[in-house]
Amino acid sequence: MTALLSLRDVEVTFGPVRAVAGVSLDVPEGPYGVGVVGESGSGKTTLGRAVLRLVRPAAGVVAFAGRDVARLRGRELKSFRGDAQIVFQDPGGTLDPRMRVGAALGEALRVHDVVPRAQVGARIDALLEEVGLEPAHTSRFPHQLSGGQRQRVAIARGLAVEPRLLVLDEPTSALDVTVQARILALFERLRDERRLAYLLISHNLAVVERLCDETVVLYLGRIVEQGRTEEVLARPAHPYTHALRSAVPELDLASRRQRVVVSGPPPDPADPPPGCVFHPRCPLAADVCRTDVPPLREVAPGRLAACHFAEEVLAEDFVALSH
């Protein structure tokens, strides 16, 4: 069976910068979640936008339900726009500040003729209820809502067109932690109720773990590791994943780990280092890393990693290895 969303060797460039440098991944039909994690500048946001054809890939194919998204026209494009939606990070910017909540939702409903005109009002109320808001919110402007409420409206707007895939671009990172928890719960519920597929873009591993079955780790526009979320987080196969994992502050003292230190900031994406792009920061870097690009390969069943020493990282205690 074909995946709902399938990326093959997607590349996105901005001038000299290869923001996404050849990424392949699949998102099956929901309920399912694929998480994309990485630092700022890793290209994860661009990847999300490429999926929705908000930026044009320079190379590679984004296919949705077996069709090349880049070639969709007219009615097909419209139907794709209805099938794949996005929720952005900034709850302030997601909604048009000059549009009331009702109008914003109504626009979505009308563009795709989701329901007959007469039922638009009722559907708006239903959508608001579904995301935990009240019909009274219809007449509000975004600035009259709290951050969490705004994000709920944004979600409702995404849901209005009854999509099969939701791209979630850092959907909770601008929210206060208590609000974040509630929104995450909402996402969980919606995934199961609406059988949604998520492509979740986040720097927060905990959020990814909560919503995603599968995780992709992006570094400088390249996939460095990919696998089942719990496996990737429990036993990283790439030193970068390891570093990322260990840098996450843990609330429970018991689970605090010794940190794997990566030094310095990520390299300039316009001028990536030769060999393995991670080698300048990698505690394991050997000569081969400076010259040979490690391919993304299956290092364990269902696990892909792009590291010359992935097996060692997986098998041994990485921390010991790096010290």
């Binding site: 936008r49 929705l52 908000l54 494009l77 419209k78 794709f80 726009r81 209805g82 794949a84 939606q85 996005i86 952005f88 990070q89 900034d90 910017g93 997601t94 909604l95 048009d96 500040p97 000059r98 549009m99 626009e107 979505a108 563009v111 795709h112 402007f141 600035h143 944004a154 707007r157 067109v161």
Partner: protein, 293 residues
Amino acid sequence: MTEVAALPLVARRRALTRALRRNPLLLSGALIAFLLVVVAVFAPLIAPHPADAGTATNPIESLLPPSWHHLFGTDAVGRDLLSRVVFGARISLRIAGLVLASSILIGVPLGLAAGYFGGWIDSVIMRVTDVFLAFPALLLSLALAAVLTPSVGNATIAIAVTWWPWYARLARGQAASVAGRPFIEGARALGVPPVRTLLRHVLPNSITPVIVQASLDVGGIILTAAALSFLGLGAQDPTPEWGLMVSQGQSYFTTQWWLVTFPGAAILVAALAFNLLGDGLREVLDPRRIERR
């Protein structure tokens, strides 16, 4: 305060009332501007000798100094200066209105398109505006007005030709920044057609600075129009245009001071009022934008 620009009208109106109270310059500007509009609208009722704003002359009463009968005195052909100054408000405001309307109608759509679509559309539109902006407004108007026959209409056209690129620029900047905001991407992701996106999302979110600029520009246009008329390239006698009146009074200004003083002061007051208004509005609605002209 910086977020006020993003607020809808209701909230801005409240901010506006508050600002009016706090900002005496804005308040006085608004008041005078309002008075000017009133004077322009009711000119025939206010002017003591309305015919003198037209073709009437009265050479026997020429060059009378200000008196109770002629508050501003009379000009070289005996026309009541007050009446002419009062009717002059109509001319100036009409020119300003027409220039603004055409500049906004031409400039804003082009600018929005450039800012929203980017790419070659943007490049082409912006290079064209660059060319127009390379001429100081007065000079290009002057060249245009010089090759056309001088009249109020042609002066208006000449000024409008130099004015629209500013609005294209402004709208482009706004549209470009709005286009980068998530709700526009959201609209695109939702499949909202580009024209609808432009009209329903980009335009309403770009319009505030345009309004501020328009109120600021009224003063500039009045000055430019007066300057053209002063140079003989705009209004022609007997049109009671302020700049023309100053020009006509120039031969007498050392001996009959009122001929130049009153129409000139009218230009100053009108430009000042709208500049104060625009300046104040900018402080309130759009404090981050800075001078450009």
